[in-house]
């Protein structure tokens, strides 16, 4: 029975893999903990379901859902850059806005997608096909992102997330890049939502609750697996998808064990918390030894391999101070 459920778990994992790639772009590339996703995944599903119910072609419905997701990212981006609201709060505000918007789009708490029709792109009634089609989607997405983040514009976005001070000094428009990154990310998340609605046959106002945790879990699992294999960006993205699949296989396993699945979200959150804590504690422990040598190492010695970002007692660039990644402006740093 567990193996019977595997194709379903894998196709769900692939769909959430698309979502996790979106999370990867904000969380890893932009260093921006974006909570918009809990809302934008539902927006994607709602837009897609409502349009399809109105007889719109499934592909067109997906396209509109993707655009809606990008707009959600734009709103968060504007909150953060133009209005100076901290990253986490910007995401939460948009998430809240989307809750109302999603209800308005659907006119009720959920909308059915007629998945018996031949016009559905993916459906759980045919998991085998769904897996194949999802591989197609992911190949295009991973390929596209790999290309984009290798361009001048894409490198600018990576630099923005990695070191905003340096980016500004090199003439990079940090605010614009954050907005673009958020739009790409949420477009992907909405795509996942649209496909998920088609796959499960309905969009539901609660379908995005806790999505960020599933996305982060997939990112973390993926990173743990591929980090030793290759630093290649495409491989990392593939790892994130793999993380999504593993998450859903474990999920299926828990169901098979007949454990209480209501604990699953709590369990996921705790696992994510532990994994996020590991680098921080590791750094803190290492730091005691490397502190003295921080800036002293001579020009011809290759020292300090341990701290990659601006080291310190803070959990830099990791989730514990995500709230601090405040927008540019203000008094700068001296």
């Amino acid at each position: 029975m567990f193996f019977d459920a595997l194709p379903g778990a894998i196709s769900l994992g692939l769909i959430w893999g698309v979502m996790a790639i979106g999370v990867f772009i904000t969380y890893k590339v932009l260093d921006f903990a974006d909570l918009t996703v809990d809302g934008s995944i539902c927006t994607g599903g709602a837009v897609c379901a409502v349009l399809m119910a109105a007889g719109v072609n499934a592909w067109l419905a997906v396209l509109v859902a993707v655009i809606a997701g990008a707009l959600a990212g734009l709103v968060t981006g504007i909150f953060h850059t133009l209005l100076g609201i901290p990253a986490i709060l910007s995401g939460i505000l948009t998430q809240l806005i989307l809750w109302s918007v999603n209800l308005k789009i659907m006119g009720q708490a959920n909308t059915a997608v007629d998945s018996r029709g031949s016009y559905v792109i993916v459906t759980q009634l045919e998991s085998g096909w769904a897996i194949l089609i999802m591989f197609g989607f992911l190949a295009v997405i991973v390929g596209g992102l790999y290309w984009f983040f290798g361009t001048e514009a894409g490198c600018g976005i990576r630099a923005t997330g990695n070191n905003p001070d340096m980016s500004r000094a090199q003439g990079i428009n940090v605010n614009l890049n954050k907005i673009i990154g958020l739009m790409i990310s949420n477009a992907l998340v909405a795509l996942a939502g649209a496909l998920l609605a088609q796959y499960q046959g309905f969009a539901d106002i609660n379908m995005g609750r806790g999505a960020i945790v599933i996305g982060l879990a997939a990112v973390i699992i993926g990173e743990a697996i591929v980090t030793r294999i290759s630093r290649n960006f495409a491989v990392q993205l593939a790892g994130v998808v793999l993380g999504g699949i593993i998450y859903y296989i474990v999920y299926q396993f828990v169901i098979w064990l007949e454990l209480d699945t209501e604990y699953l979200k709590m369990f996921s959150a705790i696992v994510v918390a532990i994994f996020l804590a590991v680098p921080y504690w590791k750094k803190k422990y290492f730091y005691k030894f490397s502190k003295k040598r921080k800036y002293q190492s001579g020009g011809d010695i290759n020292a300090n391999g341990t701290h990659s970002s601006s080291g310190g007692d803070n959990p830099d660039s990791d989730v514990a101070n995500m709230a601090e990644s405040s927008p540019q402006g203000g008094q700068g740093n001296v």
Binding site: E152, A153, N163, A169, Q296, G298, G299
Partner: protein, 267 residues
């Protein structure tokens, strides 16, 4: 030498936390003209406003009043990233000038595109790589053999040298150095400073360098300014500057009511 003006600061004022108990006047009606080819060293006590001056030029924050003319253009209201077109910068903190998770060559490629619209063309090309390899080999740190290594793996001195190279890869109108050797050990600092002078001389770069080391301040460049409480209190160039002694500077400093600290005297 032609006296083309690169930077013209007119009556710059900057107060931090205005109206609060932490109010701090950092720049007081500061005016300064920098000519093409000038290499100016800037000294002054802690909190004199040196970094604030540099950040005001860069646009890290808006100034309260005054005008900033850079390369003939009024940039007073231009955001930081747009001013970058004219400026090469090296920060005091070696961590600040480079992108740690990106490769050495990717960092250079970012810098090479300073002031350019970032398009959907490749972020780095094969031809550039050769150019970067050449430039890196001049540093004498062996970085030319590690071009795809992440910058986060480099030591402070290596990163500072790389930042310097990045700041000058695309020739800036003005090179700004804020105590860029202060965080390095003496041997590395000397090396980076030597490379700074070499690059500046070779490209005839107009340079403003903040330093705490008075001997360096006297030895390097053709002009020296001393700051105190947000003002330029001493501005000397040419032969007169060359003839300066550390004692002269300390004397001036004391006269203006500044406190001497060890860092300024010891090299």
């Amino acid at each position: 030498m032609s006296e083309k003006v690169i930077l013209d600061l007119k009556d710059i004022c900057k107060t931090f936390n205005r109206g609060s108990v932490n109010e701090k006047v950092a720049l007081k009606n500061l005016s300064l003209t920098v000519n093409e080819g000038d290499f100016i060293t800037v000294i002054g006590g802690n909190g004199a406003g040196k970094s604030t001056l540099m950040n005001a030029i860069c646009g890290t924050f808006p100034v309260d009043s005054g005008r900033i003319i850079l390369g003939g253009a009024d940039v007073t209201r231009l955001p930081e990233y747009k001013r970058a077109k004219y400026l090469g910068r090296v920060f005091q903190d070696p961590m600040m000038g480079t992108s740690p998770n990106m490769e050495i060559e990717e960092n250079l490629a970012l810098a090479y595109r300073r002031g350019k619209v970032r398009s959907l063309m490749p972020g780095i090309t094969r031809k550039e790589r050769e150019f970067y390899r050449e430039q890196l080999s001049r540093l004498g740190l062996g970085l030319e053999n590690r071009m795809t290594a992440k910058v986060g793996l480099l030591s402070g001195g290596q990163r500072q040298s790389l930042t310097l190279l990045m700041a000058t890869l695309k020739k800036p109108e003005l090179l700004l150095l804020d105590e860029h050797t202060a965080a390095l050990d003496p041997k590395t600092a000397a090396k980076v400073l030597g490379f700074t002078e070499e690059i500046a001389a070779e490209n005839n770069l107009t340079t403003v360098m903040i330093t705490h080391n008075m001997m360096d301040a006297i030895r390097c460049g053709n002009r020296l300014i001393m700051m105190q409480e947000g003002r330029v209190i001493y501005d000397v160039c040419g032969e007169e500057k060359k003839a300066l002694k550390v004692e002269d500077l300390l004397q001036r400093f004391r006269e203006s009511g500044g406190e001497i600290n060890d860092r300024m005297v010891l090299s």
